[in-house]
Amino acid sequence: MNAPAPAAGTLAELSNDLADAVARVGRSVVAIQARRRIPSSGVVWGAGIVVAANHTITRDEDISVTLPDGDTTAATLSGRDPSTDLAVLRIESTAPPVERSDDTHLQAGRLVLAVGRPGPQVTASLGIVSAVGGEWRTWHGGRIDRFVRLDLSVYDGFSGGPLVEVGGRVLGINTSGLSRALALALPGTTVDRVVGELVKKGRVTRGYLGLAVQPVRLPEEMRRKLGLSGTIGLVIVNLETGGPADRAGLLLGDIITGLDGREVGDPSDILALLGSEGVGKQVSLRILRAGEARSLAVTVGERPPSRGR
């Protein structure tokens, strides 16, 4: 007198599809030994190229990778970008690169799996994409093409593992390194861009002025007198000696109101205008000094590499 068994149907089919997706992507997910704790995950992104979460690669040498077939091989670090929490390793292996899915039209509600290999076996968690937003910047200034928030558990060792849709195609890379509170994924578009730069140059170049600023409210009278439309300026509170801004003659206390003809009202406006394309370019800074408006030309330098983890 068993309770009636439901006929194997849609639910069983979905269950199979999910397990198939994990098995499929699992052929391209590796375990990375580059820290003292349990291994982290990595994804074979191209021939011999493994993408990892930068914060899980705590040493530059003596890195090994356990492949899906169980073999362990040595890996070399080709480059790291702390600002997007990505690193690229090179291995000699015929493990197939993941199949990619277009993430440009990703929407909230997509059924997804987070897959990892924090040991010999591939492991998974299930959830949905809970929110998709526009471009954003990480704490360290890295540009991420889309904000992808997940409703799923990112387990220990999952950072660097793929975000997979039913069918086994990869939407991005999961990492816990960009937010303490949220489960976030780096969209494949961003991974492509950063991996391209890391493979080519070993690093991601970023424009750099060598100054620190703080927003200040501009007095009404000064705004009227100088014909300024913005209410906020950025006062220079620190200057790197010999840095691009210092060499261009900027002084502590100067208030920046515009960059290349565009108004700036928030420190992130400056970061946003200093992409990786800007290095070596001359930009024009509009500033207020001693109550007078003036312009200064600054040559954008390259941010010195940090050993950020």
């Binding site: 007198m1 069983a12 269950s15 397990a19 076996q121 968690s125 299930l126």
Partner: protein
């Protein structure tokens, strides 16, 4: 994809989930042990054999409440603390019993369902996936599941998409549900001379 077909599909999915939930609800009991202990159990035979965790069954009296509200005084047949398994009996026949599934062929990512009484909340269903199948069934290794469990789920069923019981939910560690594979339970039952389900 044709929008209407997709909707019809998701309707079927919902109906199937409800059918599995109902099936699990009927084979899952609420178990009170002593004054405080509370957990879940799985009806294993039509004539009243019930499985649970040893850590749930730690004091007398034992009371089992069925899905339909009937209550029974239960007798502990044996406990195996090393495998955290307890076998209990109630005097009742014609019960719906668990259909054991295959716990030796699990795949990471396949759907699993759990029913239990987390924090005393009766008959709560949760849905998740196999995180990691047992590595070596001979050594009482766990089924690790990405599923939301809490105290009160202990001893309850972990089932596959067909509603077949593949494990007994036993503990939570590292955010993951850990279940004793039903194949291990079956082996232990056999060793003790219990009848097969």
């Amino acid at each position: 994809m044709d929008g209407r077909a997709a909707l019809a599909g998701s309707g079927r999915l919902g109906a199937e989930l409800e059918a599995v939930a109902e099936r699990l609800r009927r084979i899952t009991v609420r178990l009170r042990s002593g004054r405080l202990g509370e957990g879940a159990g799985v009806i294993w035979s039509h004539d009243g054999l019930v499985l649970s965790n040893a850590h749930v069954v730690h004091a007398e009296p034992l009371v089992i409440e069925l899905w339909d509200g009937r209550r029974f005084d239960a007798q502990l047949r044996w406990r195996d603390p090393r495998h955290d398994l307890a076998v209990i009996a109630i005097r009742c026949t014609g019960l719906p019993a668990a259909v054991p599934g295959d716990a030796t062929a699990l795949r990471s990512g396949q759907l699993v369902l759990a029913l239990g009484h987390p924090f005393g909340l009766g008959n709560a269903l949760s849905l998740g996936v196999v995180h990691q199948p047992p590595a070596d069934l001979g050594r009482n290794r766990w089924i690790r599941a990405d599923i939301s469990l809490a105290p009160g789920n202990s001893g309850g069923p972990l089932a596959n998409a067909a509603g077949e019981v593949i494990g007994l939910n036993t503990l939570v560690a590292g955010g993951l549900g850990h279940a004793i594979p039903i194949s291990v339970v079956q082996r232990l039952l056999q060793q003790r001379g219990e009848r097969a389900a």
